[in-house]
């Protein structure tokens, strides 16, 4: 099977798919990058082009950086945090594997985001419930794939998968907290230096 179509095979055969991914190295980093890019563009696409009648967002409020942060940055944090914590808890996965497996797990969510956004433009109010179910299924299947991926990549039992999952999320939270903290601290430090320079300039 071609490498580019492998994520689609994984969609339907998660358990076999991830085992082959790990032990036969049937993954490619470039395809994972494509999926992450599609993930990001899908979110932007949905923000702007979701059926007008159901789209709570004002197109004028689009903030690309914010969407970038909650897709790409979050993904990077996820794989980093997961890899770090799983290395500590006897996980067998390499960072490349964690990265690719996580990206491949996003496929159903990404595909359904595009589908839902397009279809939401041609449905009336009574039919929007089906669209909502569909997007729920996409999200749910991605979560299932992610769990299977973690289980296979790190050779874990299910309970350990859930344990490391919680650790990973906690790790992400800590990193985000540190980012926010350092931003405010640096801003204040910067402010101090700026006022000092200004003060000196006035005195000169």
């Amino acid at each position: 099977m071609k490498k580019a179509l492998y994520p689609l095979y994984l969609l339907i055969h998660p358990i076999d798919g991830y085992e082959e991914l790990k032990y036969k190295k049937r993954f490619s980093v470039s395809i994972s990058f494509v999926i992450i890019l599609l993930f990001f563009f899908g979110e932007v696409f949905r923000f702007q082009y979701y059926g007008f009648g159901y789209n709570p967002n004002d197109p004028k409020d689009l903030n690309i950086l914010f969407i970038l942060a909650r897709t790409v940055l979050l993904f990077i944090l996820w794989s980093l945090s997961n890899w770090l914590f799983c290395s500590l808890t006897e996980g067998k996965g390499f960072f490349r594997e964690v990265w690719a497996a996580s990206a491949y797990a996003l496929t159903p969510y990404v595909l359904i985001t595009y589908a839902v956004t397009i279809v939401s433009n041609v449905v009336v109010l009574e039919e929007i419930a089906f669209i909502n179910y569909l997007s729920f299924i996409g999200m749910f299947w991605s979560v299932v794939l992610m769990l299977v991926a973690m289980k296979t990549i790190h050779e874990y039992s299910l309970s350990k998968v859930i344990f490391t999952l919680i650790l990973t999320l906690a790790g992400i939270a800590v990193v985000l907290f540190l980012i926010a903290l350092s931003l405010t601290v640096y801003q204040q430090v910067f402010d101090i230096f700026r006022t000092m320079v200004n003060e000196i300039l006035y005195r000169l």
Binding site: F52, G53, Y54, D58, K60, V124
Partner: protein, 468 residues
């Protein structure tokens, strides 16, 4: 071209820049709907200087303006051309002379009976226009009236069946309603305490407080109404100064139930406009004969004009008081015909606002639209859009007109501009029905053809297979 020039020159006269709020509640520039055209001060009328007039009443049926000159304890009556008709300086009750002490509200019935809330004297007076007092209404003798609240009437109005509605300082039970003879009738329409985060937080900490601490805390009592008015159908419109109550502007029926409104954000909406913190404190409300609603903001001296459905139409006026059209202490708002009058109690003046060409167009379009004349309203709405692209109400109007005529696609585009999702989906349903119905034969034929090809192809393959 002519219109553009007119608007341009008119624009320059108003000391404020028009703005309005778009459907996402962000402020956008807009044309001025009303402009100050005239200032009426004591010397224009030809009376000695007014001292902090607190209220005025415009009676369109009598063609008179009654100014309550609170500081001097008199009532000045003007005719509809703003010329002096009469002043009432002497008040007599049963041949005895009496005086007003800091009165704060005046109401005149269609029959010409004048009601004055004589605040510091704790009474309400009913008199004719020669100053002869017919009736003095004092604190009603009833257990319902809380004993610790003095009878200090702040605002007053009288309905068609002579019931007297009084807003009383410090009375949280609601508006006091008295019968025509001054008997207690009921409390009406109290403003409720809405459990905001702040209130809930306060209640939580109260659980751990000692009695002394609790007593030192402010009580969470309903906000008092700061002004009210009655329309031709007997509905009462109230305003409060406190924005946190979500009762800023309300409409009540005769039973005191508030009427549901599709809009509940009134006054200035953003916390930041002009890089200043905005707190809107409505001090008075006026309902016009055709049910337009004007509310007056004390802090920024602005009038917010709403239509019958409480859609924001115009914002005009401003803070200051040094220029025509700005105010120091706006106290009351009323309308005379299409003009809107604002009384400033510090400046002791009445400012007359007249609609601009744009304002007049919006008023006519709204009137047509709200009387159900969606088709006739399209044309004025389209002119309004030409003058002011930011006026989202116009797109809704055009959309409704087009929807009625069955031009669903165009209606959808207009609803989209108005950000009216509900109407958009309504139009979209119709539009999709039409598209599906029109393209159904094509789709059906295509499906049939494909099926035909497939079956024929299969049969051919089978035949070939058998031959082999």
């Amino acid at each position: 071209m002519m219109t553009a020039l007119n608007l341009q020159s008119a624009y320059a006269f108003a000391p404020y820049n028009g703005y309005t709020y778009d459907p996402n509640q962000k402020s956008v520039p807009s044309l001025n709907g009303y402009e100050p055209t005239r200032l009426i001060m004591s010397h224009d009328i030809g009376v000695s200087d007014m001292k902090s007039p607190k209220d005025f009443f415009v009676s369109e049926s009598l063609g008179r303006i009654y100014i309550l000159d609170s500081g001097n304890g008199r009532v000045i009556i003007l005719n509809a051309q703003y010329a002096l008709e009469k002043t009432i300086t002497r008040f007599t009750y049963q041949a005895k002379e009496t005086a007003l002490n800091n009165p704060s509200s005046i109401f005149v019935t269609d029959a010409g009976e004048i009601y004055v809330a004589d605040t510091a004297n704790n009474r309400v007076l009913k008199m004719d226009d020669s100053g002869r007092i017919e009736k003095i209404i004092v604190k009603p003798q009833t257990d319902m009236y809380p004993a610790n609240v003095a009878f200090e009437p702040l605002k007053i109005l009288v309905d068609k069946s002579d019931n007297i509605y009084i807003l009383i300082k410090g009375l949280y039970q609601g508006t006091l309603v008295l019968t025509g003879s001054g008997e207690f009738s009921r409390f009406y329409a109290s403003a409720k305490v809405i459990p905001t985060i702040e209130v809930l937080n306060g209640m939580f900490w109260r659980l751990f407080m000692t009695k002394e601490q609790k007593e030192a805390q402010p009580d969470y009592v309903p906000t008092e109404f700061s002004g009210f008015d009655i329309d031709n159908e007997g509905f009462i419109y109230t305003v409060t100064q406190d924005k946190t109550t979500q009762m800023t502007l309300k409409k009540f029926n005769a039973l005191g139930k508030s009427i549901a409104m599709n809009n509940d954000a009134f006054g200035d909406l953003e916390s930041q406009y002009d890089r200043e913190n905005i707190v809107t404190q409505f001090i008075d409300v006026n309902v016009e004969e055709n049910f337009f609603v004007d509310t007056l903001d004390l802090t920024r001296g602005r009038v917010f004009r709403y239509d019958q459905d409480f859609n924001l139409l115009f914002i005009f006026g401003g803070p200051g008081g040094t220029q025509l059209g700005t105010f120091k202490t706006p106290a009351a708002v009323d309308n005379l015909g299409e003009d809107i009058l604002v009384l400033d109690s510090d400046l002791a003046s009445i400012t007359v606002f007249s609609p601009t060409e744009f304002g007049r167009k919006v008023n006519t379009a709204i009137s047509l639209y709200n009387s159900g004349d969606y088709l006739d309203a399209i044309e004025p709405w389209e002119e309004i859009v030409r003058l002011n692209e930011n006026y989202s109400l116009a797109y809704k109007g055009i959309g409704d007109g087009l929807f009625m005529t069955g031009r669903y696609k165009e209606a959808m585009d207009n609803y989209r501009l108005a950000n009216d999702k509900e109407s958009y989906l309504r139009a979209f349903r119709e539009y999709r029905n039409i598209v599906v119905r029109q393209s159904f034969p094509v789709i059906f034929a295509a499906v049939l053809l494909i099926l035909l090809f497939v079956t024929v192809g299969r049969m051919l393959l089978k035949v070939r297979g058998r031959k082999r």
